[in-house]
Symmetry: C2
Subunit: 440 residues, 2 copies
Amino acid sequence: MNRKQTTGVAIVGCGTVGGATATMLTRDAELVSQRCGTRIELRYIVDEDFTRAEELGMDASLFREDLDKVLGDDSVQIVAELVGGTTVAKTIIEKALAAGKHVVTANKALLAHHGAELWALARSNNVCIAFEGSCTGGVPIIGALCGGLLGNRIDAIFGIVNGTCNYILTEMTTRGQSYEEALGRAQGDGLAEADPTLDVAGVDSAHKIAILAALAFGRRIDFEAIPVSGIDSLDTMDIRFGQELGYVVKLLAIAQRQSDGLSLRVRPAFISKEHPLAWVSGPFNAVSVYGHATGHTMYYGRGAGGFPTASAVVADIAAIALGTAQRYSALLGIWPDQAPEANQLAIEAVRGRYYLRVMADDRPGVLASIAEILAEYNISICSVLQHESSHANAGVPVIITTYEATEGDVLAALRKIDAMDVIKSKTTCIGIVDEHEERL
Amino acid sequence: MNRKQTTGVAIVGCGTVGGATATMLTRDAELVSQRCGTRIELRYIVDEDFTRAEELGMDASLFREDLDKVLGDDSVQIVAELVGGTTVAKTIIEKALAAGKHVVTANKALLAHHGAELWALARSNNVCIAFEGSCTGGVPIIGALCGGLLGNRIDAIFGIVNGTCNYILTEMTTRGQSYEEALGRAQGDGLAEADPTLDVAGVDSAHKIAILAALAFGRRIDFEAIPVSGIDSLDTMDIRFGQELGYVVKLLAIAQRQSDGLSLRVRPAFISKEHPLAWVSGPFNAVSVYGHATGHTMYYGRGAGGFPTASAVVADIAAIALGTAQRYSALLGIWPDQAPEANQLAIEAVRGRYYLRVMADDRPGVLASIAEILAEYNISICSVLQHESSHANAGVPVIITTYEATEGDVLAALRKIDAMDVIKSKTTCIGIVDEHEERL
């Protein structure tokens, strides 16, 4: 497109992100147009309720309730779907693609569940879907994976991709708050929803790692096959013991190449205090990417919120206006509908180190029995920590860290350990993520 | 370019980066071609000495000594200049552009000094220059500034962009080594040149911030007008006092928008232990970017070395093969030859906070006199630190941190303070970089 040309945009959904996008496309129109050498014009705001749009001082002449009419307007080349969710949003995107509009979306849930289908539809209509805003808000991780890291075989991705969880874990770690206290604080600060399930249960993080893994590995990802656990059952006791051992707990979204396949998982994990991800605090996000040529690179910033996400949406709009998004979207291996299926490993096949907290009676021979069961499953003990204890009614916490083992072996050993009558409650098992080796 | 097409590449200069690039374009040819949907083929390695190329097992049929002949080959579309320096490299790039070849370079010195001239030449020949490898090696910061952050008004950039300096400072900070000891260690580890001047004096960092600022602010930068100081005169005493006050010293390359202009500077500076940049240790690089929509984002990784830099060079080659680099290069405001000149502030106009170490006689009234002079220049004292001292022959160190002041006022006050006969040696002055305010 040449500099004189105008690209018309319709925003569908004027909530937090839609409103911020509308603001950037109007208030900052000069800046955006100047930097991308083509005029980008907000033509319509499509919604059912324009309260937010009015509060933002948007011109009422932009407001439309009828999406179909907007899609019939040839002066609109790009539709930004900022409604969210997987029902109405899917219909909006399908209609827009069918009408020959490029689509920009920040909708990770929709892409994680229906990405392949939507991408096929985009291809058949000769348009593209751009989705920088879907992962880690304003941090351009999609651009890095598709652009600057393109020459790398990606070996692993470790992401802190949910700001709500990271905020809660930071509060629990630095203030010793319980999960419930920290969640309440996050809700008070507007960082957690009234129903925080999607965030705290790890599902939102799983959506994002599904998208990042598809791009990084050039494979089709089965979202349903990603094992997910959240932060809602974390005990501050384990956070404290982890600190004693030199670890910080983070909710990590992991995609890791093993010799036998690809391990995708979301879970609270211990990471060394020395690792850059351990420093990421409060609502910030960060993604560590290990490439065979770059080694470790990391991308950090605000993973949510109106303007950070709108920044990504506007960048995508600009990339379509420039014609670069279309070219990236044609990349083989990046668009998962034509990519081979990933060989996603079951959680039992994951190899890693583990932190175990066994709550045992303070009796002779208990540690020996535990060690024996671990040995039976080929699990070597790396360290043991047991403090002197005076009140042992609920059992004494014995902390064991293991050398590398398969999770299947660890889970089997724990079933056997927990069946012992000296064990007072279910053993806590938290994965330890060691610094991924750089293979330069 | 369509998927069947082949893009021919000539590498000029087969040293560390050139060798790694040649390796990626041959050993990893399948990966790269698959991901960018077009076949990228290394056609020639141009050099005077092929020892390194032979060590890497490169096919001798690729070796050429005559650049002009290579430039006359129509099957070569891209020339990767990996010679370095500002003399021969300039001629190579000029010839390549004149011959209608796209150029990929990692040469920050050349771009910082002659970027505008070379970009004009590229434009007049309807080709582009891609330079992701010129700043922070494998960390795709150029792509972030031109792509994902495109919709942002950039307010500030703070970069740790020289791995040698960061390694030395990390050693000085964590092991209490002197500058000379740490430099020796860096040289032993192959992280510093025998003549480390370009690195430790801050010049290399200035090259990089000149390029980043041109992109971020869409302004032509006068490299010669960037005030530069290096790490070679840093005293471990100041590192220790800084730590006591909660700061870490880093060599920062800064580009900051002030109301009256743009401040570019390179210097050792104190930064809060809480700031993500403070965590960047050893040879790693990181760049913090503050955008009006994203707030704080940071990009972290290995800033030098063969494969990390080659990763960026290969990404640029792929971007040209895809046609995306050409589109970015046409962006108004990104290509500084047509951009307005930046209003670069003199160092005296920079506003900031300062750490001062005054070496004074331990006599009554000294602190009062110092405070009086600071007040005379409108400099408010933020904190004072003076330990009990037993051996005061060389003077007692008095540490003063200031509130925000202009550097001109601070320097003028220090001239007056240092002229006092109770002052035993020149006062040390180090800028304090506070967390830049996010304006979301």
